[in-house]
Symmetry: C2
Subunit: 237 residues, 2 copies
DNA sequence: TGCGACTATATTGTATACGATTTTTTGCAC
DNA sequence: GTGCAAAAAATCGTATACAATATAGTCGCA
């Protein structure tokens, strides 16, 4: 019923809107969990929300489907992706597979100023954790992902960076669906530990910490198959 | 000048054509090097080639651009991607980063019948190497990539599988551009060595061989920056 | 009241239309 | 012939139109 209308990325009077802008706006909304998994994104609604025709709306949704953030079902429309438990497992398996390597490459090129920047991110992240309120929560979610994304950027491989973009965004979806502890960033301190290890050039330890960090995030998920009951079963206690 | 017209994926009278089919057909043409880097893919030509409107042609080209096989330049059109030397390096760096992990996961789940299947692929690949002619060459190129793709499939992670699809396809482009030895599959035997190591459960060795195999492929490339002369300079010896 | 078939509505799939931008061609002066 | 400017053609960007499909609502009947 409520389409993307409740996602308050205002169309902005500075009419200059393209499919890119739409894609980014919707992706941000998904990553920050203003749009929940399963929400229908009708081409009409998206288009009118951004004051463009269905053509551009459709292109943006198509693009998001390539990133795995939106699933389009033939003749039925586009929905915010609803990753299955198996899919969620694969997302984190992919991250465990890839992030140690990225960390290695990043550590080999990192500069003192970049380390400083990372530490700055951590402080910011910590500050957001202590704050309360929706907006702080959303900012925190994004900041938590930014740590991993920044490492990918430092690694200097644009291909891996794009892949990590996708993985982090999809992780956010999985956490939204299956996360248990109210705060996802239970492992905030772990980010700091990783940087510390990098700083003292202990690569093995840094990678080790990274793998465990990802495992911890996944461990906070309840990935049991929920057969969509929603029927009598849900009430016949 | 010559558009996609010389790529002989016949439109096929079985009119059932969708954007998916178009995308796959063009991708195959690129991977098998029937379409060279830089070739212009105009929406009109693609559309009329498959008997669909520009709408679908455009969607297919857009999709290919997300895979990095086609680059679309605003208001100028779509071209078969022409990876820079730096891009090529990143493609192979990504593969070195990712494939050992995939190999590990695959080895953990591989069944005897799958090993048999891989060996079958190798035999086929070897047969194609001895044959001559364009079609054999193309089939060989595809077979060489199929080895890596099959391993990704065995690993059981759909996300990594899709990523490998992209990497292998883009590798083909890089080799087409910068490859030196006539035959890309200089390292055919290396595939066999990797399987052998997997078979005797020597994972460390298998991963080691995989990294070197990828390095060998890259080593056959001449990745020096070629500033597109094409002008007098090209003749003023 | 409950169920099933039929109609109406909404939404997606694809093609076409038109304005904008780029590229090519033409024409003219030098 | 060469070089530049304007016109023509081709191509892309976006909106709209129409057909196909799915969803929701309605009526009739047991």
């Amino acid at each position: 019923m409520n389409s993307a209308a409740n996602a308050h990325e205002a169309p902005d009077v500075s009419s200059e809107i393209g499919t890119q802008k739409i894609r980014d706006a919707i992706r941000d909304a998904i990553v920050e969990r203003r749009l929940s998994p399963g929400t229908k994104l009708s081409e009409n609604d998206v288009g009118s929300l951004f004051n463009v025709s269905r053509t551009l709306a459709r292109a943006a949704l198509q693009a998001l489907s390539y990133e795995g953030l939106v699933s389009v079902e033939k003749n039925r429309g586009a929905f915010v992706a609803y990753p299955s438990p198996e899919e969620a497992r694969q997302i984190f398996a992919a991250r465990r597979l890839v992030e140690p390597g990225i960390l290695r490459d990043a550590a080999a090129r990192i500069t003192p100023s970049q380390i400083q920047h990372l530490k700055q991110l951590l402080i910011e992240e910590g500050r957001l954790m202590s704050e309360r309120g929706q907006t702080a929560r959303r900012a925190e979610i994004k900041a938590s992902g930014d740590f991993h994304l920044t490492l990918a950027a430092i690694s200097g491989n644009a291909i891996m960076q794009r892949f990590m973009d996708e993985l982090v965004a999809r992780s956010s979806l999985a956490i939204a669906l299956y996360g248990q502890s109210t705060v996802s960033s239970c492992g905030h301190s772990e980010h700091g530990d990783i940087i510390a290890a990098v700083e003292r050039n202990d690569l093995e330890q840094a990678c080790h910490l990274m793998v465990h960090h990802i495992a911890h995030i996944e461990a906070d998920l309840d990935l049991r198959e929920r057969k969509s009951v929603g029927l009598k079963e849900a009430f016949e206690l």
